[in-house]
Symmetry: C2
Subunit: 339 residues, 2 copies
DNA sequence: ATGAAAGCGCTAACAC
DNA sequence: GTGTTAGCGCTTTCAT
């Protein structure tokens, strides 16, 4: 790899001058600058970040620690948002996966510290409270999709789910729906409680409620080893004369199973029953027919916001505080007029 | 950040000795080693990779260039495989996204060269021929899911699709199916031609064929701006007295639309019609009911193989050659006995 | 078994 | 506007 001295030799200037050109220092005559630039292009010189790190103590690297997020299909939009914002900054992205394992988490931090990353994005798949040793206090860090244990005013990026849910419920009500059903997420998920709470609260505002018989489980088993049961529970629920006119689902996969159950019973969506998902996992929501009405998790924006926060934090331009990003209701054909 | 000299001072040895301990050099007495190790732990010392890079010319970083792969839900398994293999090596992973844009591609290479990456994984979303300037000849590179333009014996990782397709067809035939339909992928995809070719070839071996009337488009429009039309084309096809008993689909999303079409017509899968997908995009294939029989793209293994290739290549232990990974047929409930 | 000196590529702080 | 000196953290080479 060609170094700054070789460029200097070719351009017949000192290495310091080459450095000035590279960093757009004004104090270089246009003529020398052109000569140096020509040498840079001719030799294909790219400054060595390792050397830069030693001099300036800046690596130009942001570390990304995920539990499983970067290796599951659900939240690629977070990664996408992060990369899109990274690309506009001058940082590079170093990604590490912990699979939720504490030992690997510790190893990940060491790895990132070895590279002297300027900051870290700590992203979790599910909303949850972080345990104390998950985040290294010595490195500027923004946590994404999770809460710090100490409840401190840590920089964080979180989705705000309840407004989106409220919007969805209101849309259903104004389409004439009065009989609501709900298919629950895994109970150990923070989001599960929050979504059901938001659903019930909004229903109450409309003078409606969720009957127990129409509130069933969509998933069973412990986190990460859970299996979907929505197909069976929904099939039983819908195979009655008295059934809900609209079915809210904890997420879009559950909605797909609910759709399968309706299909099996010969019920048409949305003519016989309306369906609303959560997450806006588009491979399902935009591909199935009818397309799935659902509340979109703002993953892309969360990723972007996370990068902006960490960049601001690293440059001391930002005071650390949690930031909430709104969820939007995506009204699509699976939610229609009540029968 | 604490440096090797501070550790040396605390342990009362020279910095060189600390270095020896860090790198497990034998020539250190157990006693000094223990003292040094204690200092390292106490201070939380992690060697500075930037300094290491300068001395050894090894960054310990593998660059990952993707067009869109790392930001779409379809191929997270490649990333997963890569990360799982990276984790067992001593490399870190620096990820860059080009979105298929030549300018960003050039910028990506410069970024990786700045970090003096030891090797590069160049991964594409769809199988395609690379153009000449996509890969930098100056950096050891393994291309994944794509072919080099010059047809040279470049190190590459590719899926072998035809055997999996043949297996799927044979399974259908032995379940009594004689009337085959096919829903095509975007014609500009290399995989589209290959899959249809493999399907027809295997059918021919069984003395069967694909009637034109049962071979329809699943997708329309140019790549990256295409829309699914499988719901409509399949609905028309199936809304006839004479219809196929099994429908092969170019990918799993198309299969989901085919399923939607069948549901709309009141046809049951698999009793009235069997369905076979391609890709094994599990969020669809394992969640819908019946679960979707499909040919699995071996993305995880491809990712792992890619890392092993690049590691071998960097250490000159491997001669560069393309490597093919087999696709496996996943027999699930959507493919059943012919009616 | 341990240490001292030199140098990797680069820039901050001064010269000039 | 341009060049010189020194040193960032580390390992290689050579001494001891």
């Amino acid at each position: 790899m060609v170094s700054i001295t070789e460029v200097a030799a070719v351009a017949k200037v000192s290495d310091r001058t080459v450095s000035r050109v590279v960093h757009n220092d004004k104090r270089v005559t246009p003529k020398t600058r052109a000569r140096v630039q020509a040498a840079i292009n001719a030799l294909g010189y790219v400054p060595n970040r390792g050397a830069l790190l030693m001099r300036t103590n800046k690596s130009g690297i942001i570390g990304l620690i995920t539990d499983v997020v970067s290796t599951t299909p659900f939240s690629t939009d977070i990664i996408h948002g992060i990369q899109s914002a990274i690309e506009e900054s001058d940082y590079s992205l170093l990604t590490v996966n912990t699979a939720g394992d504490p030992e690997r988490t510790a190893k990940s931090w060491r790895e990132l510290k070895g590279h002297r990353v300027d900051g870290v994005l700590y992203v979790t798949m599910f909303q949850r409270k972080l345990s104390a040793d998950e985040v290294d206090p010595g490195v500027p860090t923004v946590i994404v999709n999770c809460h710090s244990e100490d409840g401190a005013n840590r920089p964080a990026i979180l989705p705000e789910e309840s407004a989106g849910m409220a919007e969805a419920v209101s849309a259903a009500v104004s389409l004439g729906h009065r009989k609501f059903g709900y298919v629950r997420l895994n109970a150990s998920l923070l989001a599960a409680a929050e979504r059901e709470r938001a659903l019930r609260a909004t229903l109450a505002e409309h003078g409606l409620s969720l009957p127990d018989k129409w509130c069933v489980s969509g998933v069973e088993g412990p986190l990460f080893e859970d299996t979907f049961v929505a197909y069976d529970t929904v099939k039983s629920m819908l195979d009655q004369a008295d059934r809900p006119s609209v079915l809210f689902c904890g997420n879009d996969e559950i909605a797909l199973q609910a759709f399968s159950a309706a299909a099996r019973l010969g019920l048409r969506v949305p003519e016989d029953i309306s369906l609303v998902g959560f997450d806006d996992f588009r491979v399902v929501s935009e591909v199935m027919r009818p397309r799935l009405a659902t509340v979109a998790l703002p993953y892309f924006q969360m990723g972007q916001a996370a990068v902006r926060q960490i960049a601001g934090l690293v440059q001391d331009q930002l005071e650390p505080a949690p930031q909430f990003i709104a969820c939007q209701f995506m009204h699509r054909e699976s939610l229609s007029r009540a029968p």
